[in-house]
C-alpha cells in the first residue's frame, strides 16, 4: 500500500470502519465535524448507518441504543458537546455498554477557541460524569496513531464492556500527514464476548471469572433488563449492598487486572536519564523534538509518551521517575495530567509547562524547561 495524505479526523473515521464500527450518531462541532462527514459517506458503503442527531445528548444516547442492538458504535465531538454527553457516558459505564466517544479537544471553557487545540479535557474525560466509575482514555500523537488508537479503542470497549474515550486534539485532528494504513488482515479486531447458554440461564451482569459478563444484543431471544440504576446480576434495580458492592468491585477489577493490555506508552532513553519529559497527544511531538535537541547538547533527558491517560499508568510513571530528579510535564492545559504525575512522583520533582490559550507548547519551551530543570538541581 502506498502512502496517503490524510487528516487525523479522517484517520479516526477510517480506523472506526476498520475496527468494525457500523453505527455513528453525532452533531456538527468544530474540530470534530470531519469525522462525521467521512462516516456519513463511508458507513453506508459498508452496510453501516450514520445519523445526525438533534444534539450531543441524543447522539450519545443513540450510540448506546445501537450498541445494545449489537452494532459497534461511536460518536465524535469536541469540548462543549463532550460536556453534554457526560450523563449518558455515565449510563454506558453503569450499564456496561461498549462504545467509543471521540473528543477532538479545542480550547475552552465554554465556546472557547473552536479552531485552536487544547488538552483541557483530560480531567473531564476521567471525571466528567458523576459518580465513581472506571474509564479508558487514549490519546494519539499522530495521524497514523489516530487510526491505530481508534481500532484499539473499539477493541477495548468491546473486550471490557466499557465506554472508551479517544482524546484527540485539534492539532492531531486537522493535521495532514502521509500515512500508510495497515492492510485489513494486519488489523486485530476484537468482538464482544457472547454466550450460548439457554436464555433462562443468561445473566447480563453475572460475576464471571473474567469479570466481563457476556453481552447479548436485544432481539436475540435473551430478554433482559438494562438500567442506569444499580442492578443485580440480571440487570434489575437493586438497593441491596450485597449486590451493589460486588458490582462496583467487578467493574473496577475488570480494568485493573487488564492494565497490561490497556496501558499504551513509549519510553525512550529513560535508563541513563537525569530528567524525564512526560507528554501525550500533540504536545508529545514538541516534547520529543526538545528531548532530541537536549540530548544533542549533552543533557541526559529521557522521554515518556503516554498513549493511555486513564487509567493513569502509575507504575510506568513511577518506574520512569524512580532515579530522576526532575520530571517535566508539558501539556496544553494548566497542569491537568501534571496533577497525576505529582501524585505519583511527588510535587517537588515536577515542573509543569502548561498553556491554555490555544497555542501549542513549542519545542523551545520544553527545552527551556529542561535547561532550567537541570540548573535548578545542579
Amino acid at each position: 500500500m502506498t502512502g496517503k495524505l490524510m487528516q487525523g479526523d479522517e484517520a479516526c473515521a477510517e480506523g472506526a470502519i476498520a475496527a468494525g464500527c457500523r453505527f455513528f450518531a453525532g452533531y456538527p462541532i468544530t474540530p470534530a465535524t470531519d469525522i462525521a462527514e467521512v462516516l456519513a459517506r463511508r458507513l453506508p458503503q459498508v452496510g453501516g448507518k450514520f445519523i445526525q442527531m438533534e444534539d450531543e445528548i441524543a447522539s450519545m444516547a443513540a450510540v448506546i441504543g445501537a450498541s445494545v442492538g449489537g452494532a459497534k458504535a461511536m460518536t465524535a465531538t469536541s469540548g462543549p458537546g463532550f460536556s453534554l454527553m457526560q450523563e449518558n457516558i455515565g449510563y454506558a459505564a453503569m450499564a456496561e455498554i461498549p462504545c467509543v466517544v471521540v473528543d477532538v479537544q479545542r480550547a475552552g471553557p465554554s465556546t472557547g477557541l473552536p479552531t485552536k487545540p487544547s488538552q483541557g479535557d483530560v480531567m473531564q474525560s476521567r471525571w466528567g460524569t458523576h459518580g465513581d466509575h472506571p474509564i479508558i482514555v487514549l490519546s494519539p500523537s499522530s495521524v497514523r496513531e489516530t487510526f491505530d488508537f481508534t481500532v484499539r479503542a473499539f477493541n477495548m470497549a468491546e473486550k471490557y464492556r466499557t465506554p472508551v474515550i479517544l482524546l484527540m486534539d485539534e492539532m492531531i485532528g486537522h493535521m495532514r500527514e502521509k500515512v500508510e494504513l495497515p492492510s485489513p488482515e494486519a488489523i486485530e479486531v476484537v468482538e464482544r464476548v457472547s454466550t450460548s447458554v439457554p436464555p433462562e440461564w443468561y445473566k447480563a451482569y453475572e460475576n464471571t471469572p473474567s469479570d466481563v459478563p457476556p453481552m447479548i444484543s436485544f432481539g436475540q431471544g435473551y430478554r433482559y433488563h438494562i438500567t442506569g440504576l444499580f442492578h443485580d446480576e440480571r440487570g434489575f434495580p437493586t438497593q441491596r449492598l450485597d449486590e451493589i458492592d460486588p458490582w462496583i468491585a467487578r467493574v473496577f477489577r475488570k480494568i485493573e487486572r487488564n492494565l497490561r493490555d490497556i496501558l499504551i506508552y513509549e519510553a525512550d532513553e529513560i535508563e541513563d536519564a537525569e530528567i524525564v519529559v512526560i507528554a501525550y497527544g500533540a504536545t508529545a511531538r514538541s516534547a520529543r523534538h526538545a528531548v532530541k535537541q537536549a540530548r544533542a547538547r549533552g543533557y541526559r533527558v529521557g522521554f515518556l509518551r503516554l498513549g493511555t491517560l486513564w487509567p493513569f499508568p502509575e507504575e510506568v510513571v513511577e518506574r520512569a521517575a524512580e532515579r530522576i530528579h526532575r520530571v517535566i510535564v508539558p501539556e496544553m492545559n494548566l497542569g491537568q495530567l501534571a496533577l497525576e504525575v505529582e501524585r505519583v512522583v511527588g510535587r517537588r520533582k515536577v515542573m509543569r509547562v502548561g498553556k491554555a490559550n490555544g497555542e501549542m507548547v513549542t519545542p523551545q519551551e520544553v527545552l527551556d524547561a529542561i535547561v532550567r530543570g537541570v540548573s535548578a538541581w545542579l
Binding site: R22, F23, A25, R41, P44, Q45, G47, K49, I51, M53, E54, D55, I57, A58, S59, A61, A62, V63, I64, G65, A66, S67, V68, G69, G70, A71, A73, E87, N88, Y91, S217, F218, G219, Q220, G221, R223, Y224, H225, I226, T227, G228, L229, F236, P237
Partner: protein, 287 residues
C-alpha cells in the same frame, strides 16, 4: 381451540409480565400507569407479536419503571432521552417493535427536543406518553402539561405557564400516527396502541392519566376514583366534541385518532441510502 375471554386475559399476563420476579410494582395504589401497561401488553398480544420482537424503552419517572415488569427486551434509560436511545436501537434492529414509554415531563420538558425530532424523522418507534399533568415521582412539581392556574409544589401561587397540547405538537412535528385516549377508556387505549404499533413510522399515543397522590391532593381533586370519574365524564370522542357548543368544549378531553398518514419511514429510507452508497462504490466512484 376457543379460549374464554377470562382465560385469555390470564394467559396474556402469564406471557408478557415478569410476574414471578418483579411484583409488587412501585406505583401508588390507584395509579393509572398499570392500566397503560395492561393496555400495552394486550395490544402486543392483539397484534400477535412475540416477546422477543418487542423492546420497551423508558426514561425516568414513575413511567420509567414500567420496563422492569414486562417480559420484553427492556431498557430504562436517562431522563428525557428514551427516544434517542430507541432511535439508535431501531436503526440497527429495524425489524424490532420498539415501544417507548414516557411521562409528560420526561417526553416534553427534558425530552422535548428528542420528541419533535423523532417525529420529524418519522422513525418507526411507538411513543406512549402517559400524561398525568405533573412530576409525580419527585412529589408534585408542575410539568409542561400542567394546566394554567393549577397548583403544584413548585407553583404554590398557581401555574402561569401554558400546557403543551401533546397531540397537536406531534402532528405538527411530523408523526405518522397520533391518538389520544384515557386510562378510563382502557380498551380503546389498547386498540389505539395496537394501531400505533402496527403503523410504519413514528406513532404517538397520549394516554391521559392522573396523579391523585400529588396533583390531585394539591388541587383538591379527590381520590383516584374521583379522578378516574373525571376522565370518564370529560373524555369524549371527536364526534361528540364537534357537536358540542363552544362553551361546553373547554374542559373536555378529546379521544380519538387524530393523524394516520403514510409517510416514508426513516429506517426504510436509510436502506435506500445504503443501496445508493454501495452502488456508488460498485461504480468505482467515491461519492
Amino acid at each position: 381451540m376457543v379460549v374464554k375471554k377470562q382465560e385469555r386475559e390470564s394467559l396474556i399476563h402469564e406471557r408478557y409480565l415478569r410476574h414471578h420476579k418483579k411484583f409488587p410494582h412501585v406505583w401508588c395504589a390507584g395509579c393509572g400507569i398499570g392500566i397503560v401497561m395492561g393496555a400495552i401488553v394486550r395490544a402486543v398480544d392483539a397484534v400477535g407479536l412475540s416477546n422477543d420482537e418487542v423492546a420497551m424503552i423508558s426514561g425516568i419517572g414513575c413511567s420509567g419503571r414500567m420496563p422492569v415488569y414486562v417480559d420484553f427486551n427492556t431498557m430504562h434509560t436517562t431522563h428525557g432521552r428514551a427516544l434517542a436511545f430507541a432511535t439508535g436501537l431501531k436503526m440497527v434492529r429495524p425489524e424490532m417493535k420498539v415501544i417507548v414509554v414516557m411521562g409528560d415531563g420526561d417526553a416534553l420538558a427534558i425530552g422535548g427536543n428528542h420528541f419533535i425530532h423523532a417525529a420529524r424523522r418519522n422513525i418507526g418507534l411507538t411513543a406512549i406518553i402517559i400524561n398525568n399533568n405533573v412530576y409525580g415521582m419527585t412529589g408534585g412539581q408542575y410539568s409542561p402539561t400542567t394546566p394554567t392556574h393549577a397548583y403544584a409544589t413548585t407553583a404554590p401561587y398557581g401555574n402561569i405557564e401554558q400546557p403543551f397540547p401533546i397531540c397537536q405538537l406531534a402532528q405538527a412535528a411530523g408523526a405518522a400516527f397520533v391518538a389520544r385516549s384515557t386510562v378510563y377508556h382502557a380498551r380503546e387505549l389498547s386498540r389505539f396502541i395496537a394501531q400505533a404499533i402496527q403503523k410504519e413510522g413514528f406513532s404517538v399515543v397520549e394516554a391521559v392519566s392522573y396523579c391523585h397522590t400529588t396533583y390531585g391532593r394539591i388541587n383538591k381533586l379527590g381520590s383516584a376514583v374521583e379522578m378516574m370519574r373525571h376522565l370518564k365524564d370529560k373524555g369524549v370522542t371527536q364526534k361528540t366534541f364537534e357537536a358540542l357548543a363552544e362553551e361546553e368544549r373547554a374542559d373536555k378531553i378529546v379521544r380519538g385518532v387524530f393523524v394516520d398518514r403514510d409517510i416514508p419511514e426513516y429506517t426504510r429510507l436509510y436502506d435506500e441510502i445504503i443501496a445508493r452508497a454501495q452502488q456508488t462504490v460498485a461504480n468505482g466512484r467515491t461519492a
